[in-house]
Symmetry: C2
Subunit: 253 residues, 2 copies
Amino acid sequence: MKSNYTYRYPRPSLTADTVAFAYDQKDGMLKVLLVERGNEPFRGKMALPGGFLEIKAKVDADGFVTEEKNETLEACARRELKEETGLEVNFMKELGTFSTPGRDPRGCTISSVFYAISRPVNVQGGDDAAAAHWFPVREILKAIESMPNGFSFLAFDHDEIIKRAFNQLRVDICFEPVGLLLLGETFTMTQIQNIYQDILGREFDRRNFARKVLIADVLDRLPHTGRNIRYKLNLEKFMALQESDHRLRLLFA
Amino acid sequence: MKSNYTYRYPRPSLTADTVAFAYDQKDGMLKVLLVERGNEPFRGKMALPGGFLEIKAKVDADGFVTEEKNETLEACARRELKEETGLEVNFMKELGTFSTPGRDPRGCTISSVFYAISRPVNVQGGDDAAAAHWFPVREILKAIESMPNGFSFLAFDHDEIIKRAFNQLRVDICFEPVGLLLLGETFTMTQIQNIYQDILGREFDRRNFARKVLIADVLDRLPHTGRNIRYKLNLEKFMALQESDHRLRLLFA
DNA sequence: TCAAAAGTGTTTCCTATACACCCATGA
DNA sequence: TCATGGGTGTATAGGAAACACTTTTGA
């Protein structure tokens, strides 16, 4: 028989959800990763990949918890992302915690949400989720906006979360060159510019844009094999820039 | 007899802690609010005010939770802050969630941390905590740095948290005029400048500084009673600025 | 009376932006 | 060969930083 877990005080459930972004070179659209929920609640609705924090607990004869060990929330987010969609990303950042009472009909569930940036890859539905797919962010946001009052497009409060995540992404790429993580192994300056223009919803002058991106000094210029200059992200420099709190110079106003 | 709370799966404890900052006009130092822990673990050590998320739960005959209702994390942070120190603040912002395994010796405890900005006020020790006092941030940070490896100055992982909070404050006052909340009812431009200089650790030209602050357009100029121009924070304008995502213009590089 | 703090505007320099020409490739 | 995309440098304008003088008040 499976054991139960008893505490002196009530406790919440804690989940980690991930808003994963990727850029689709084929149609030039920014995509977000959603899974179709296989179980209640919200069965059949689309939702962000995520799940419950894993806790190893020992209990005594009466079911009281005597010892416990948890994973970190980020580890939880990565694990769930992998299990549900097969995706592994190298950039993940905490977005915030969502604790509005009633946000999960099953009870008291608090969600720590991360947003992730992925290389353009294919994903398959994993264990828990019926199916995982990349959806155009703009379309999703449009669908969210067009829902009548009191109705939500996604499961739980994921409408709100995805809006927050996209806003955060827009702010962040103005300061840090995280947008470069959306690209493949090598890329041209034009490809970078297209992504930034799409996300920020505005156009840039080619030359000024290239200058600003190169100032960040995280790109290696490859000996051009073909006609155009190709670049490659220098991960060491990029990571070093992330560490040092150099958000202080904004790249794009 | 007090009832217990039983779940099918193990759950974490969830707390909300607050890093409250205030500015002391008397000595011109930025202070942070700490409480002396009255109970184990870390009894007698200084810690951030905070406590467990309050959950109203109903249980069936076997102790299984059938219904539950939680407060939001921010509400929890405000409630605990009030209970432990008597302090009520009007600005509070989520800093992040801390979930490193082992951060709380009592078991699996995840903390959502807020940072708050307070007017300069006195606080008293409240219910839970033995004593609450304002401490100079610089001194605390110095004490933290000077601890030998493996030892912490504050309880739990609060050393790390307070460092993160101070860094966040330094970033935020470069973009939003949140530093103005540190002041009293009315104030002079020089007082504002002193605060900013203290927090950012650099000096500004008087005239350039005043211009930048006034650009934000959240201050009302009072008909000067005394010798100097006095200002007053226009809360409506300030709140409106917070709502609109206008972090995009940085005030101080 | 003198020192220190505070009020006021202008100049300078730097950086962001706007812009034009040339070259290479593929249709 | 012509159109398109991409490579390169410069000129200009606007904003940030440097700066000087006068006035008031308190020691």
